[in-house]
Amino acid sequence: MSVPHPHSTSRPQGFLGRYVFSTDHKVIGVQYWLLALVAVVVAMLLSVLMRLQLAFPTHTWPLLAKIFPTGMSSGVMAPEFYLSLVTMHGTMMVFFVLTTAPMGGFGNFMLPLQIGARDMAFPRLNMLSFWVTCTAFVVLMLAFFVQGGAPLGGWTAYPPLSALGSIAGPGEGAGMTLWIISIALFCAGSVLSALNFLATTLGMRCKGMSMGRLPLTAWAWFTTAVIALLAFPVLLAGGILLLLDRNAGTSFFVPGGLVVAGKLIDHRGGSPLLWQHLFWYFGHPEVYIAILPGMGATSQILSVFSRKPLFGYRAMVGALVAIGLLGFFVWGHHMFVSGMSPYSAIAFSILTLIIGVPSALKTVNWLGTIWGGNLRFTTAMLFALGFVSLFVSGGLTGIALGQTSLDLYLHDTFFVVGHFHIIMGVAAVFAMFAATYYWFPKMFGRLLHEGLGKIHFVLTLVGVYAIFVPMHIQGLMGHPRRYYDASNYTYLTAAQPWHVVITWAAVFTVAAQALFFVNLVWSLRRGPRATANPWEATTLEWTTASPPPHDNFTADPVVYHDPYEYSRPGAPRDYIMQNDPPGAFAEGSS
């Protein structure tokens, strides 16, 4: 035992203290990142099972019958098993991948480093947030193993289906209860984490790090934390009300006079639409919780590898804030055909298309950032460029879905599935890949293999477009989503061959991810050792060792420069780090 240290930042002893119940933001960041990695593998495999069913609906799979003795007892998938895959894939991806990795993972690891802090503001709270989130994941996984299996109502869990218990269908009993508890825990963990991000950003910045000198990534995490703090409590409240409806005899979401499976239900006075308002009041901002950190990482990476200042820094910050704010006023566009007032639908539609303006401005400025640059095509850069391409593709189809009259036809079709998978799914995942290739050397002290990374990029880019563009075509044909089998419908005959194409594309894309995992494992052991600043970047995380020591910096940094000073004329090298002394470089004005 060492002598008690005057600061709480002394390095903890023992395996448990260092790697499991650690209060170090870097360890917690890696923990979140690993949790997301586990979740993404499980959720991806679930999607492959769904794709097999959609492409070959009557096929018998003897091997799968052994793995899933209840869901696929005769080798043919049961409809309720298919729907439980739909629910669990969506829930895991949205919460435990798209929310967990960008904020909990990269945000936790990099925010204190980028603002020159030794840790997050509340290290113990940070540890608690992670373990609550991790417990939430375990609870969710348990739903697969209880009587009736996982819930079949989709990740949106609309009542009355979700409020009535197992009478409404298998999985709506114990599985649904576990789902609600998992999401409630996740909400609690996210709120605690958001508080920590806000306190850290506002209170822990080093000398000279004014808000106007924050890297775009830090602005994105800050804005995301504000959104999370306002959105998650609403879902938490909704979840508690739903739990009470199921278990305590209340009727928040269930109206009177319901007859389910021939049985009169003893509820009265509730409104199914109330849940939809609560859910989407959270659910739409959640889209931005998933994508804003990706926007930040993309802005950062494009600037670094274009060797150019970020185009329109102030406009980019303004657009982040505008998207975060407007994101709270558009939730009704998920409900145009729900039975909500047709007047408010028009208001939500116009607000929805207005939110396209800051999003488009960001695209203009990303293009402006690479324009006139001297591009270095690292794997991180390629994934960031891929993010821009996917963000454009997925954003533009939102212009169709944001219109009331087009939702009359396109709502709840595969057009929607294609849209949100491109914008919220793979665009965000591309940003996470970009962030992983970019920050891996800082996190683990070794560089990922660039050659493998580039092949991984090319295969994944082609693969995801081959999966999700055809879904838009099926949507235009009027194919409803969440269908176990579409062969009942003659008007969908032409859509079926596309299911086969999409499934093969999905198998191809999933197989290509093996390259990523091989790269991770190989590089952790054999990758070239990373210097402090392998990318010649400017922000503070690159001023310290890779990986950083326990307290991050040997001396507290002082910031003298804006975050993206690349290729300044007259400077001795093509980048000026934020803490470079001011005298060495003439402060030029743009």
Binding site: Y158, L258, P272, Y313, V337, T352, F377, Y484, Y566, S567
Partner: protein
């Protein structure tokens, strides 16, 4: 690598445009003028976003190739361009809001216009996993219904037997028959969970919500039989909750009602 990236993005863009263009030919037939108006707005939107798509992907590919890293090249030291940023935002905002307002016109005609005087009203009540269709009969008045009287075989809508208005009512399962050329108002409801009444040929869809009766109006222009898939997840049989919309000549429709009452 810059060239490879540019070629990839170019190929993906071209393939996407061709495939989306072809998809238009695969869409279901148009059964009403309103459906035609939805399609017109859809095509206007797809063309607009198609132009923006090609422009943005094109610039991305071109810049990646044009500014690929070379020894001796120096990146421009610029921090932005206010006029470009404000100007592009204004143009994009005007285009987007114009589309939203145009899109709302079709919506307003459907949901906010007064019903025509000779409108035929039909109640359609969803349940796991079927549609109960309720006609008011010659008196034009729907009989009262009571959930405690539901019986899957003999009385699926729980009609009260001693209500005179209900005696001439007609109840069918999964088939909504309507006369051609006459305005129809469906009053949509549900006995249990959410469902959604979706007629691809009419380009309309409306969720059914227990506790609410939601109107949905249309006028079918020609006769035929059209599929009605359920479009809101309602349980394990969601995919097989299939209705049929039969559009009949006026005399055929009258005869059909008589025949249904007899059964």
């Amino acid at each position: 690598m810059g060239l490879l990236f540019a070629i990839l993005i170019g190929a993906i863009t071209a393939a996407s445009v061709v495939l989306m263009h072809r998809a238009g030919a695969e869409m279901p037939p148009l059964l009403s003028d309103a459906a035609q108006a939805v399609d017109a707005q859809l095509f206007l939107t797809l063309v607009t976003i198609g132009v923006a798509f090609v422009l943005a992907q094109g610039l991305l590919a071109w810049f990646a190739w044009r500014y690929r890293g070379r020894a001796g090249r120096t990146a421009r030291y610029v921090h932005g361009h206010n006029r470009l940023e404000v100007g592009s935002s204004v143009v994009i905002g005007v285009v987007f809001v114009t589309l939203a307002i145009m899109g709302s016109r079709v919506w307003a005609q459907l949901h906010l216009a007064q019903p025509a005087p000779d409108t035929l009203v039909i109640e359609v009540i969803g349940e796991q996993f079927a549609w109960n269709v309720h006609y008011a009969g010659p008196d034009g008045v729907f009989g009262r219904s009571d959930p405690t009287l539901y019986d899957p075989q003999s009385n699926p809508l729980g009609l009260v037997p001693d209500d005179a208005a209900g005696r001439d009512d007609i109840v069918t399962l999964n088939t909504v028959a309507v006369p051609v050329g006459r305005p129809v108002e469906l009053r949509l409801g549900s006995k249990d969970v959410l469902h959604s009444f979706f007629v691809p040929a009419l380009r309309i869809k409306q969720d059914t919500v227990p506790g609410l009766r939601i109107p949905l109006r249309f006028l079918a222009k020609y006769t035929g039989s059209f599929e009605v898939p359920c479009a809101q997840l309602c349980g394990l049989g969601h995919y097989r909750m299939k209705g049929t919309l039969r559009v009949l000549e006026a005399d055929e429709f009258a005869a059909w009602l008589v025949q249904q009452k007899a059964e």
